[in-house]
């Protein structure tokens, strides 16, 4: 590196953001990541001393729902900080440059920051017909993707498309759309599944990665433990009704009006790992179960090909955790008291831990 690279703090100040706003951002980031008492100082120190980490955001076969979710994060400073400070060096949905000028930015970033940038991928590559189902700038997306991944420090797989394949990979998968880890094999990949992922989960992950320059602790499926370690069902506000055997039988029936459990309407909350029932959607306003519709499990692998979205879990075999839904019922019947105890803990602030720790960098 010829000249010292500028830090996030340099960029933030150059853009006219005050020190006060910067400190606020650090506190919020630390809080959203569950970093504890010294978290804000840790975040601030990292942003003041570490070189800014460029982020490249690429779109493959997708619907842009991940970007849509991201730009509506309830993070109060998202418009200033996440979009412009953390600097998406390349994002074809919101950027100013066009056409081959945009392609040039890609190549420039790749060379200048070799091994130092984060590649965020929305969507996935289709492999049939040599990638012809997704042509970007005259070339198959799969080529551009593997090329940009080769020089990345790490890769973020946004959403169900990049993580698992999503609905375009549903039978008969006409384009042979595959998750990105089928074509990127030699880089650390963090999967942030969901269709789309929750905005605050996205800003939390990107905030962590660019602040500390590494991925947070991941589970065996490659998901950040801080957001995907609990099932929707574990923290669902309707859980007491499940435990009490009170169910919705038809849309908007009396049970629905009483807020009863949606299990019989096909809710996949018991087998879905995501933060919907705690973080919720649209700035904490609600989430699908709160709107009276069951969870379809959109953050789980192959959610699109597990039978009807409205089948009860009884009809689905090969789900882990509880062996089948009959047992769910039996376990539930025996654990009403335990369920209430768990429920009492819902209001406690979620502990978002990273054992390798921001403190150990």
């Amino acid at each position: 590196m010829d000249a010292p690279r500028e830090t996030f703090y340099d960029v933030i100040r150059r853009q006219g953001i005050t020190r006060r706003s910067f400190v606020k951002f650090c506190s919020l980031t630390a809080a959203s990541l569950g970093l504890g008492a010294n978290g804000a100082a840790t975040v601030a120190h990292a942003l003041e001393t570490k070189p800014r980490i460029p982020v490249i955001w690429m779109h493959g076969l997708e619907c842009t729902c991940c970007s849509e979710s991201f730009i509506r994060s309830a993070h109060p400073l998202v418009k200033d900080v996440v979009l412009s400070m953390i600097s998406l060096d390349y994002d074809d949905t919101i950027m100013a440059a066009a056409g081959h000028q945009a392609d040039a930015i890609l190549q420039e970033t790749r060379q200048k920051y070799k091994g130092q940038y984060i590649l965020a991928v929305e969507g996935n590559p289709p492999l049939n017909e040599n990638g012809m189902y997704c042509i970007d700038g005259g070339r198959p997306f799969v080529e551009k993707l593997t090329e940009m991944a080769a020089d990345a420090m790490a890769v973020i797989a946004w959403g169900a498309c990049a993580s698992w394949g999503c609905v375009q990979a549903a039978k008969p998968n006409p384009t042979q759309a595959v998750p990105i880890d089928k074509v990127i094999r030699d880089k650390p990949i963090i999967k942030v599944p969901g269709c789309p992922p929750i905005a605050e989960v996205m800003t939390g992950v990107v905030g962590y990665v660019v602040t500390f320059g590494r991925l947070p602790e991941l589970d065996r499926q490659g998901r950040p433990k801080m957001f995907y370690s609990q099932r929707i069902h574990d923290k669902c506000y309707r859980r007491p009704h499940f435990d009490a055997g009170q169910f919705v039988e038809a849309w908007d029936d009396e049970g629905a009006r009483q807020g009863h459990c949606l299990y019989k309407m096909g809710c996949k909350g018991p087998t879905t790992y995501n933060a919907c029932s705690t973080t919720r959607w649209n700035g904490g306003v609600s989430f699908p179960i709160q709107s009276g519709h069951g969870c379809i499990g959109c953050s789980e692998d192959a959610f699109w090909d597990k039978g009807s979205f409205y089948d009860r879990l009884t009809n689905i075999s090969a789900f882990g955790i509880e062996a089948n839904a009959d047992q769910i019922g039996m376990v539930a019947a025996g654990t009403v008291a335990a369920g209430l105890a768990v429920h009492a803990g819902v209001t406690a602030v979620r502990r978002l831990t990273d054992k390798s720790g921001p403190h150990g960098h």
Binding site: C63, C65, T93, Y133, G292
Partner: protein
């Protein structure tokens, strides 16, 4: 004659490439290509019909409610279901929130930043426009994004999550709203009015909705009271650059009619003929899709009979979008078409002199925002607490029907056939499929391909801003286009 390739386009939804033949600094011919295909029309076949309600929203992350509404309309028509008034109103409120959000996103984040390019640096309005709209740096985005997020709380309240909401059913919306939620809904709509009246229009919505001719628009652009709004800023810029002469479209303008929840459609449907100035009925059975220029195999052309089979080795094809035609002709769809067909005097005035154009498309979009925001207030107050929002699901009977709705970008149709309780056929024609259609068997170009002809590119070639203005004036959604 030189051939230019413009693309990949940024600040549009999805991937787009445009090939231009340029002679003497002016576009002589254009070919528009949708280079992305996923195959939803094949994926839906063989599944339970109701599962379409969870799959079709995922065609598009910015118009997911529109896709839901088209599927709901089609399934509703097959089953003969009539939702209770609350469910219909809640669905219209949701759809309106998404459509307004899309219109605002287009204006603030996608369309206006192109006027901040260096080639406009000497224009009298440049400093004002650049300070407001420059991509990522301009001050407007900082006001828009929070207001837009607030507006989309309407979706949060009614549907739990957006995009890809699940609450929309044939029988209505899944959950009755209580008094508190209805009050929050009314508050969200009031906040929308606040943003629009303070930032976008600098005028009451009623005043914008009452604009009726070019003279009124000119006065609005200059009046001390309204000139500080972003709308007036655009009107002055459009007048200076003569955007009404750019991107001329001479095809018919079509709308299926929009927002039928309260009974009568808020905007009535039909086909407007710019040569006669008259409006006629649409005969849906006269809609066909031509695949001459598409990487798809030939077959039946009516969407109720068509299938989708990729055929990638077709030398004459240049994209994944089909070419929809009404009575064998291309038509333009979108907010301008909707307002013209509905008979809004301002919209009629904007196309009276030579058809649709860049300025008219943008003005109509913002004009429509004012009209729909006013309607949302009425609908929100029309919800009756304690009354049903949804009737129970019944097994889908076999049959076939079309669901024809208006998305933000124009006419959206889903054609479904149900046999033995499964989806046997599913075809989709999206708004940008109409607007950005390729050439058909007779060699007739689609509406954008026609509108680009005559665009001056000068020495800047593929980098000319005029091309961007014409393309973006249609607010393309490419992921919907070829789905």
């Amino acid at each position: 004659m030189t051939r230019l390739v413009v693309g990949p386009f940024n600040r549009v939804e999805g991937d787009l490439e445009v090939t231009l033949d340029v002679a003497d600094g002016v576009v002589a011919a254009a070919r528009v290509s949708a280079p992305m295909f996923r195959g939803f029309e094949r994926i839906l076949v063989g599944r339970p019909p109701g599962d379409a309600l969870a799959i079709v929203p995922r065609i598009c992350g910015i118009c997911s409610v529109s896709q839901s509404m088209a599927a709901v309309a089609a399934l509703r028509a097959v089953a003969g279901v009539v939702p209770p008034p609350n469910g219909a109103l809640a669905a219209d409120l949701s759809h309106a929130a998404e459509n307004i959000a899309d219109h605002l996103t287009h204006f603030y984040l996608f369309f206006m930043p192109d006027f901040c390019r260096d080639e406009y640096a000497s224009e009298p309005w440049f400093d004002d426009v650049a300070a407001r709209f420059k991509a990522i740096e301009g001050s407007a985005a900082g006001e828009l994004l929070p207001a837009r997020a607030q507006l989309l709380h309407v979706l949060g309240i009614i549907a739990g999550k957006w995009p890809h909401s699940l609450a929309f059913r044939s029988g209505g919306t899944t959950r009755g709203l209580d008094l508190g939620e209805t009050m929050r809904l009314i508050a969200a709509v009031a906040q929308l009015r606040g943003f629009l009246e303070r930032v976008l229009f600098a005028a009451p919505l009623e005043e914008v909705a009452a604009l009726s001719d070019r003279a009124a628009l000119d006065a609005f652009a200059e009046a001390p009271r309204t000139r500080n709004g972003d709308f007036a800023l655009f009107l002055r810029l459009a007048r200076d650059l003569r955007l009404d002469r750019l991107g001329r479209g001479t095809t018919g303008l079509m709308s299926y009619g929009a927002y039928r929840g309260a009974g009568e459609a808020l905007f009535r449907g039909g086909l407007y003929d710019p040569t006669t100035g008259g409006t006629g009925e649409i005969a849906p059975e006269r809609i066909a899709e031509d695949v001459t220029s598409t990487w798809l195999a030939d077959g039946p052309v009516h969407p109720a009979e068509a299938d989708t089979h990729p055929a990638v080795h077709k030398p004459e094809a240049y994209g994944w979008a089909k070419a929809p035609r009404l009575d064998g002709r291309p038509v333009e769809v979108g907010a301008l078409a909707r307002q013209v067909v509905d008979g809004a005097p301002l919209a009629r005035a904007l196309v009276a002199d030579g058809g649709s154009n860049v300025a008219a498309r943008v003005v109509a979009r913002l004009f429509e925002v004012a009209r729909v925001a006013l309607a949302m207030e009425t609908w929100a107050r029309g919800l009756e607490i304690g009354r049903p929002f949804c009737i129970p699901d019944l097994p889908s009977p076999d049959g076939a029907a079309a669901g024809l709705v208006e998305a933000a970008r124009g006419s959206l149709g889903h054609w479904v056939t149900i046999r033995n309780g499964e989806t046997a056929r599913y075809q989709i024609i999206a708004p940008t499929t109409w607007n950005f259609s390729p050439r058909d068997a007779r060699g007739v170009p689609g509406p954008l391909e026609q509108a680009l002809v005559g665009t001056p590119v000068g020495e800047r070639g593929a980098r000319a801003a005029a091309i961007q203005h014409v393309v973006r004036s249609f607010d393309p959604c490419m992921v919907c286009t070829a789905h």
